[in-house]
């Protein structure tokens, strides 16, 4: 009672009270922010009215009027700026996905190689990581595009592999599978075969779990994966033709052309990112305690089984979160495409479209919003993954 009276009687100034002080501080921060925003918006409005730039997103429907070297979705010069943005985004996704796959393969090989008991292999992999990690990606991109790919011979002196594959300074030409009507049945057959094989695998695992005996299913799985699509292929009369690249005049026609910009960007991104992935893989494998491997051996597991069942699952838990953020930075790094003219989101939309329309604020906000959305989706997936694995630990 006495204490309460004492507290009541003691009038403290508001800035000495933590509660009030925090409220005042936050109010001041908000106020400063609001003033800054108002000032900037005022400046933008005057600047735009002076330059006679119409703000807003109406320009997205205007005709683009420029061509794009690589279009995964329908696009012509008559298409709109908005359509050009989607073309760019599709190209960004394409180069990112290809590079992610390649960099993961190279990264795992190099990362495991660094831990090899073979001295030469370990040193070579270390050299790979130390050499590529310590040079800017932009430099490596210029090297691959202007230094290596541009130095390739012209179409007439192409480097060829058999008759189907040609590499020259116009790009890489490979045979293309052209789908005829009814080809979807074959795809359906392939997916159905894989699904059946997976079901058989699960069933065998369940039988082993319940009875202790694992039924032999590998031949049935092979049959499902290969024989089923083959049967469908035969029944539908092979609804595919192959388009071969051929030298006609001064360039190749037919087949699938991988433009040199795509090849250069993919090379640079995969080789550079692989160095980082290798370090992630190495750290993950080293993080598994030595005793785990010894315990697996003591239980009588074979080396491959101890890798598959004991070591890799534990290492993956350490590897996957940084791997995801590495994939994300690869996707962001693909925006360097603008330097060599690969038509990605930044190069098409924040480059060509921005130069033509001058809508800097709208375009840059849209591009940043798209990359932010990609980042947020990946971190959401990562959180889900982490939660799932935290749950596993708790069990």
């Amino acid at each position: 009672m006495a204490i309460t009276v004492l507290q009541m009687s003691k009038h403290r100034a508001a800035w000495r009270d933590t509660h009030w002080r925090s409220i005042i501080l936050q109010a001041l921060v908000l106020l400063a922010l609001a003033v800054l925003a108002a000032w900037m918006i005022g400046n933008v409005t005057t600047a735009l009215s002076h330059r006679h730039v119409a703000s807003g997103f109406a320009f997205l429907d205007h005709t683009a009027g420029f061509g794009i070297a690589q279009t995964l979705i329908d696009y012509t010069e008559e298409s709109s700026y908005g359509r050009a943005m989607w073309v760019g985004l599709a190209n960004t996704v394409l180069v990112s996905v290809i590079s992610i796959v390649l960099s993961t393969v190279i990264g795992f090989i190099v990362g495991i190689g660094r831990l090899s008991s073979n001295w030469l292999v370990a040193k070579l992999c270390t050299a790979y990581v130390e050499l590529l990690r310590n040079m800017p990606l932009l430099l490596q991109l210029l090297f691959w595009y202007f230094g290596v790919l541009a130095a390739l011979p012209g179409p007439r002196e192409s480097l060829t592999l058999g008759s189907g594959i040609a590499l020259n300074n116009r790009g890489l030409f490979i045979p293309l599978l052209v789908q005829q009507s009814g080809s979807w049945l074959v795809w359906l057959g392939i997916f159905a075969g894989i699904a059946i094989a997976w079901g058989l695998y699960r069933w065998a695992g369940k039988r082993q779990h319940d009875t202790g005996h694992r039924p032999t299913v590998w031949w049935a799985m092979l049959l499902a994966i290969f024989a089923l699509p083959a049967a469908v292929l035969y029944a539908t009369g092979v609804p595919f033709t192959v388009s071969w690249p051929e030298l006609t005049g001064f360039n190749y026609s037919g087949g699938l052309q991988v433009i040199p910009e795509l090849a250069g960007l993919t090379l640079a991104l995969s080789i550079y990112t692989a160095a980082y992935i290798a370090e992630i893989v190495r750290a993950g494998l080293l993080s598994v305690a030595r005793g785990q491997h010894e315990a697996a051996q003591a239980l009588g597991l074979r080396h491959t089984h101890s890798l598959r069942l004991v070591l890799v699952p534990q290492a993956l838990r350490v590897i996957i979160p940084p791997l995801a953020s590495e994939y994300l930075s690869l996707t962001k790094n693909s925006s360097l495409a603008i330097v060599i003219g690969y038509p990605d989101l930044v190069s098409v939309f924040a480059g060509t479209v921005l130069n033509q329309t001058g809508q800097a604020i709208e375009i840059l906000s849209m591009v940043m919003a798209i990359y932010l959305t990609l980042s947020l989706i990946v971190s959401l997936l990562m959180n889900l993954y982490n939660r799932a694995h935290a749950g596993q630990d708790a069990r």
Binding site: V29, N134, M135, L138, F146
Partner: protein
């Protein structure tokens, strides 16, 4: 008839000689030819090295052109074109900086090198003072020297800055400015004040979620719109602001790692001693947190240093920009010129980054010594 001899257990004599584990042959066996798989691997790698390394060395040194002053000297030979580097060396180091004023750049280089060396050599005293001078006094002196306009030094406009000078300026500003900003943002992200926390989180995640190139575009084409009509910020200053803010977000996440790693007891101990927020942060929390993440801070500096090359995209002639401009110049254009330029620039970047990464690794070893008992 000889009496049967009771022989010693046959294994003692017939067991195979143990594999030699010492000496050159032992080492070779253990590390290169321990199994069939390893032998095949070794031979494959050796084949790869023999196939790839000699042609590269041939190109860079033996078939290379070393003398001459023009493109013609390089046209006939299939090797590296070193005259390109020799002729452009001034541009590579100073950009288009006025030749009469280049001594000022040299002074800045020397001071920076001496200061950094002082910090890195363990036996030298007064590291705190030198470090503080490097972070405060040195940027001021460098600014005065490089831009001129004071003490009778003629002004050299930032458009003339380039080459290694510009790369180092961008990297240094990014590093020096992003540290305090990053500390503030990291503290803000862990603040109990919701407004401060949310603003910090949004700031950090937005910058980290977008590619640096869009931030640079923002600085070059969007920032002028946000400033009042009369106020024209220098193009380089705008780029530097963008680089500093972008790096601050990454730095904040590194420092947050250190704050999180700090045991709770340290915060409680500070509170028990009657320290307020700023006292405990400045005297207890930050010194320990920054110390733990020092290697990560250096690693972050490496990526900042590499990322400075992106300013060439928005029209600056940094180290890579000068090389690229030279390689596409009609006076020098040719496949070997470009490759020589990339090789030289790559080697320069590599030396900087690799020494930083070695330094970071040695810091990590030093710092973990206390934990290893």
């Amino acid at each position: 008839m000889t009496p049967p001899v009771t022989a010693a257990p046959p294994t003692a004599f017939h067991r195979k000689r143990p594999v030699k584990k010492i000496g050159v042959l032992g080492w070779l066996h253990a590390n290169l030819f321990s199994s069939l798989f390893n032998t095949v691997l070794t031979l494959l790698v050796l084949g790869l090295l023999v196939w790839a390394v000699p042609p590269i060395l041939d190109w860079a040194f033996i078939d290379a052109v070393w003398h001459g002053t023009t493109r013609e000297a390089c046209e006939t030979v299939g090797g590296a074109c070193w005259p390109f580097i020799f002729q452009r060396f001034g541009q590579i180091v100073y950009g288009f900086y006025d030749e009469a004023a280049r001594w000022r750049v040299d002074v800045v280089y020397v001071f920076g090198a001496v200061g950094l060396a002082w910090l890195m050599i363990p036996s030298l005293p007064r590291k705190g003072w030198v470090g503080a001078a490097l972070l405060t006094l040195y940027p001021l002196v460098s600014f005065v020297l490089l831009s001129g306009g004071w003490f009778g030094l003629p002004v050299v406009s930032t458009e003339k800055w380039g080459g290694l000078l510009l790369t180092l300026v961008v990297a240094a500003v990014g590093i020096v400015a992003s540290l305090p900003l990053g500390v503030l943002l990291a503290l803000g992200r862990r603040s109990t004040l919701p407004v401060v926390r949310i603003l910090s989180v949004v700031f950090i995640e937005v910058w980290r979620g977008v590619p640096m190139i869009t931030v640079l575009f923002m600085a070059s084409s969007m920032l002028p719109l946000f400033l009042p009509d009369g106020l024209e910020l220098d193009k380089l200053v705008r780029a530097l602001i963008a680089v500093a803010l972008f790096n601050a977000a990454y730095m904040a996440e590194v420092i947050r790692g250190g704050l999180q790693a700090l045991p709770r007891g340290q915060y409680e101990g500070a509170a028990a001693l009657g320290f307020g927020y700023w006292q405990s942060t400045a005297l207890i929390v930050l010194p320990q947190a920054l110390r733990t993440v020092l290697p990560d801070i250096v690693n972050n500096m490496i990526s900042m240093f590499k990322d400075t090359s992106l300013v060439s995209i928005i029209g600056f002639f940094d180290l890579l920009g000068v090389i690229q401009a030279g390689a596409t110049d009609v006076d020098w254009t040719g496949p070997n010129t470009a490759l020589t330029g990339y090789l030289f620039a790559g080697a320069l970047y590599w030396v900087f980054c690799f020494s930083m990464s070695r330094y970071s690794a040695s810091l990590e070893r030093q710092l973990s010594q206390g934990d290893r008992r």
